[in-house]
Symmetry: none
DNA sequence: TATGAATGAGTATTCATTCAT
DNA sequence: AATGAATGAATACTCATTCAT
């Protein structure tokens, strides 16, 4: 209709911007509707067409995997920060551990997205390849953090750190799907259970 | 497949038989395709029409819920048996505990079905009502078993038995979706992890 | 399940009773759901099976036609009574005329049923045969009443009485489908419009 | 049917053309089968898929409503033209009035479509919203025409013009569903009845 | 006479994906 | 690079009707 006047983006810039807007829209729609958000909705929210979406991502699931990847990496980063700052902070490592687990457990929406992609991976071998790569990377990173945490609190690991990481993830996922949508404000009982489990695995007494 | 010997079935018998064949077919198809198995496939496998299926079950999900219910109740039964026989057997309670957990964890297909129905319950409030009822019942029964087990092994429970049951279920579900379809015979690493977690929660030393 | 103890009905009595209960149930369900009430619902309400229903009526529509027939004949009867009693009553024929039209117009549910059966008759020639027979009979009876009414009030008919009857019916049906389900107690504007039309056709002044 | 000459359509043109073809097909199928024409049939007749149909219209009923809307607006237009040209023509206003009513009454198929959508509106509140809007607009426009017509013929209105419009519509609908498919060429008796009614409501003598 | 299990063809609607422009 | 119209196959579910018992 109207001729848009733009401050000339280079091809690359514009391409990257479109991609970002698609990812942002996907994040928004997945938060609202879960992984069953439709490609149409995501594209519309981004202000683009479905075709544009497919120009940037080979499938709906690979788009969702991308936003999961970003979330996971920022989660790891946050945990690292927490681990570092806790040393210098009041309350000591124990308080930090609590914060850590709360962070791990807080993202119900993300856990559900991960579950749905994991289920999809079971059915689609080619997608499984991509998913596993992401999962393994995340699990390894989480394992390293657990290791550092154990050293920090002077705990002995009763099993490989990677396995503990896998347990924590499984537990978070398993509890996320159990949870019925709760009243806002209600503290989530899943959180405290996960804490107890980790304490036990690190052979620490409960609080 | 087989030529049925029709020694004149009464109406009630025939109805019950149809119902059983539908449940059997559902079990088979769900094992193959997961909960996304279509009503058409299930009905066809059973050798009936879709209409017949709906004459016996109000919705696809309620049919799947039914087979999950049967499985859960036979699982509880098996665990009870295990608990009783272990007392009199060699190897003592520890060996029994291992068997117990293996049993809990071995049913990957069932865990996946439970996960899919749980996800469905999140989206459909009326189904959630039915699902929750089943889940709560199962969790309570499992909790009671955990309690008896703790007494048996002389362990102290660090949290309500129901919570431990919920954790075990969450863990089994969470690990089931992590697993890729594996070669038959491969021992499943998830099993040993769950064992460690339960040991820790019961404050028992690992083996 | 249980063996019913009955005071032995003859075959004919029991048959007639079943028929009556089916008709009664049909009336009830049609009042609730309209002509789209399902055969299953009707049979269940009657306490019988669908098969029993088909033993008594050749099709769903012929059952509905039957209850429409009964209603129409009792409607004609009521109008005749009204016509007779009005002569001897205070308020004279004018008051009676009003009552008459209110009666004609009051049965929204029946009008809707008639409309749905009429639409069905357009699509199904064999049913049309039955329907037309009923309709023509009713129209003729209504026409005769209009004639007597005209004599009673000393009016001149500007067209064949049968045509006036057809117009009244068409108007009642046409207004019934225009109406949205209204609050109970709200006086229906359609009623007064029909009155004016009849007054005009009888060349009477409005009130 | 015809070989389209593709002088390169713009996207908008092509979209509009598809829409038109769908509407055209809907008109055709509705004329043949009534409002119960299936989405599948309509889409096939148009030469598209069901999906394409749903890309253009939110539901089957909204598509049908659209073709009813177009018909109603062209009907109003035709009546306006008739009203204007009648003044200057031989036969005077009386002849015009006859033509007018014939036009009003002639479209049996459309009346039936309106009836079916009206019945659907009774069952579906959200559709009722759309339908009522169309109906009210049409009724108002028709009322204005009745008013102008009354002035033209020097008649006094015995009730609000809108009510007369509603009566005419109800009568046309009510007669349309009464009618059995007639032999071509047979003059429709419904027409003359409606004429008499309008004459009476305008307090004009019959011809 | 009444049963009720089973049929089978039907319905509207949804969706990720493609491709000519 | 982005469009967006169109695809086509799949989905759960409904219903009047039949028929062996």
């Amino acid at each position: 209709m109207e001729k848009p006047v733009r401050t000339r983006l280079t091809r690359g810039e514009s391409q990257a911007q479109t991609r970002l807007r698609l990812l942002e829209a996907a994040r928004h729609e997945v938060a609202r509707q879960g992984a069953s958000a439709s490609v149409r909705d995501i594209a519309e929210t981004a202000g683009f067409t479905q075709g544009a979406l497919y120009a940037h991502f080979d499938s709906k699931e690979l788009l969702l995997l991308e936003i999961l990847r970003e979330h996971m990496s920022s989660e790891i980063e946050a945990l690292e920060t927490l681990l570092i700052t806790s040393r210098e902070q009041a309350g000591g490592i124990r308080a930090a551990l609590n914060l850590w687990l709360d962070a791990l457990n807080s993202d119900e929406d993300w856990a559900l997205l991960a579950v749905e992609l994991q289920m999809h991976a079971r059915r689609d071998a080619s997608f499984a390849h991509h998913y596993d790569q992401l999962f393994d990377g995340h699990n390894q990173a989480l394992g390293k953090l657990v290791e550092r945490l154990a050293i920090e609190v002077g705990a002995t690991l009763s099993m490989p750190a990677r396995d503990i990481a896998a347990i924590l993830t499984a537990l978070a996922h398993g509890m996320a799907i159990q949870r019925r949508p709760t009243k806002r404000g209600t503290p989530d009982p899943a959180g405290s259970m996960i804490k107890v489990v980790l304490n036990r695995l690190l052979e620490l007494p409960d609080e």
